[in-house]
């Protein structure tokens, strides 16, 4: 496996690893690891290092919604223009172009059901090329980014075994 893939697989599991730690763990030169990370950051292979937070365990109330959007693609531009108009809103967490019965999935984050409803009815549904929207609210998150959010499993092993 190439160095870039080794780094990415490690960071995908744990973004807190430093270049020095990665170099030790991957048996590579620290400078080379640093340079490779910088290159991937510049080329937007690595787009950021957000933290996976379960906001439900905090005082902040937050609502996540998934909105199915049907749009009219524009000549010569397809869906990219309308997607860009949508993803620039800060409330929008993710936008995906989909195959199947609708065109775009828009993931929204808001402080309340009302704020999301307002965003959909005022901002999203009123855009020219948008034909229809269907809003689904997330009730509970079980797993995200490969990690289980509920019932953190304890180390059930005996403390010392041969």
């Amino acid at each position: 496996m190439n160095l870039d893939m080794k780094i990415l697989e490690s960071l995908d599991q744990n973004a807190k690893l430093t270049a020095a730690e990665l170099a030790i763990m991957l048996n590579e030169d620290e400078k080379a690891v640093e340079a490779e990370i910088r290159r991937m950051e510049e080329e937007l292979v690595i787009c950021g290092y957000p933290t996976l937070i379960d906001w439900d365990k905090t005082d902040r109330h937050q609502v996540t919604a998934m909105i199915e959007v049907r749009v009219t693609p524009q000549r010569g531009k397809g869906f990219d223009d309308i997607a860009e108009r949508i993803y620039q809103f800060e409330e929008v967490e993710a936008v995906y172009l989909m195959s199947g019965g609708f065109d775009l999935t828009v993931m929204l984050r808001g402080s309340s059901l009302k704020s999301i409803a307002e965003f959909v009815s005022e901002k999203l549904a009123t855009m020219d090329s948008i034909l229809s929207t269907a809003t689904h609210f997330v009730l509970k998150k079980y797993k995200e980014h490969g990690l289980t959010l509920v019932n953190k499993s304890e180390d059930e092993r005996m403390l010392v075994t041969p």
């Binding site: 744990n14 030790i24 763990m25 048996n27 092993r157 403390l159 010392v160 075994t161 041969p162």
Partner: protein, 392 residues
């Protein structure tokens, strides 16, 4: 009332691990690096297969030697990975963990008074099993300067007219040492020349780093004198399923099967069904886990060397075996003091034989964060000790 007990059993020393375990369990908030099993749960597709077998009411005995389907997969696996070929029907026995297979092999082969060579430090069960057959355990002290490999020279010196069997525990618990093909060839030559049998405990065979495991049974002249022991506990993270196996010449496996038949009947049925899936569809999981251990291995080795503890690079299992002799205390005293002062539980090397004196067994089957925390505490402890000793 008469003494109800067999003095031979009473005379067996309890495992050194047990003693340490009792101390650790008293301490609620200790971080342990003392576990000899994977931190991964069994991959879900394997667990699911076990569940499915229960749903389908596969709740009866299997044949004594194990499900034919499982034995067939075991033979395919051994051929594919280590180029050793066995007949699933007559040369393969499914057991309750590798531990049972060790016991059976020793019981089937060792007569009273015959000597069994056991390189140490090594797993805790070989010696008691030999004693229970009234065989005589003969220990070879593996040395740090040999990176805890068994050398042909040491083996030759330990052999007498009474030597029957060599236990070959590599990749090794507790040292993490492996044997190269070159080592094995030299050892094999001695075994053939002196007409000695081998019980090769290869339970960690899937967890080697930088080089692939070689089974001594794959070398010329060795298949007919070797019992290969392996299982699912370490490579496939299936310790609690209690499933292992032994492969070897028909005459020996048949006698082992006889003991197994009377003592155990058969290995747990649901475990056997799950294990079929582990062998058919588990290669990727094993590769992923190996890769993860390898990263932690490098990290732990680097940290230990960085704090000035002489540590040879281990290429197998999930243990490192640092040397703490500089502090002039026994491994036991070191481990106890470390536990008391820094609440880190690390097993003293002496739990695996007297020649583990001066060493610790650190398991790296823990998350990166936990390893980091424990090693930081070990570093503080080591630095304190050095300061104290400098003052004297």
């Amino acid at each position: 009332m008469r003494d109800p007990l067999n003095p031979a059993v009473v005379a067996i020393k309890p495992s050194g691990i047990r003693k340490f375990f009792d101390i650790v369990s008293e301490m609620k908030d200790a971080i342990s690096l003392g576990v000899g099993e994977p931190d991964f749960p069994t991959p879900y597709h394997i667990r699911e297969e076990g569940i499915y077998s229960l749903e389908k009411a596969k709740t009866h005995y299997t044949s004594n030697a194990g499900l034919m389907e499982l034995r067939t997969e075991i033979c395919r696996f051994l051929d594919r990975k280590y180029h050793i070929r066995y007949d699933a029907k007559n040369e393969t026995l499914v057991t309750v963990g590798g531990s049972e297979a060790i016991d059976l092999a020793i019981r089937a082969m060792v007569c009273p008074g015959e000597e069994v060579i056991i390189p140490q430090p090594s797993y805790v069960s070989y010696e008691p099993c030999v004693i229970l057959t009234q065989g005589v355990p003969v220990t070879i002290r593996l040395k740090e300067e040999d990176e805890f490999r068994l050398t042909a020279k040491d083996l030759r010196e330990a052999i007498t007219d009474k030597t029957k069997l060599l236990v070959l525990p590599f990749p090794n618990n507790p040292t993490g040492a492996i044997l190269t093909e070159e080592n094995l060839k030299e050892i094999a030559a001695v075994c053939v020349e002196k007409d000695i049998f081998v019980v090769s405990d290869e339970i960690y065979s899937e967890l080697t780093y930088d080089q692939k495991h070689v089974s001594i049974a794959s070398l010329p002249g060795m298949r007919e004198r070797t019992i290969v022991i392996n299982g699912f506990s370490k490579g496939h993270a299936m310790t609690g399923w209690r499933l292992g196996y032994a492969c070897g010449p028909k005459e020996i496996i048949q006698q082992m099967t006889k003991i197994h038949q009377f003592a155990i009947m058969c290995a747990p049925t649901m475990s056997q069904y799950a294990a079929v899936d582990a062998l058919k569809n588990g290669d990727e999981d094993v590769a992923m886990m190996r890769d993860s251990y390898d990263k932690r291995r490098r990290f732990v080795l680097h940290e230990l060397r960085d704090m000035g503890l002489p540590t040879f690079e281990p290429f197998g299992a999930f243990y490192v075996f640092p040397n703490v002799a500089e502090f002039g205390m026994t491994s036991d005293a070191f481990a106890t003091k470390l536990l008391e002062e820094q609440k880190v539980a690390i097993v003293p090397g002496t739990a695996f034989g007297d020649c583990g004196e001066g060493f610790l067994r650190i398991s790296y089957a823990y998350s990166h964060e936990k390893l980091k925390l424990a090693l930081d505490r070990l570093r503080i402890f080591v630095e304190h000790l050095r300061e104290e000793q400098g003052k004297r």
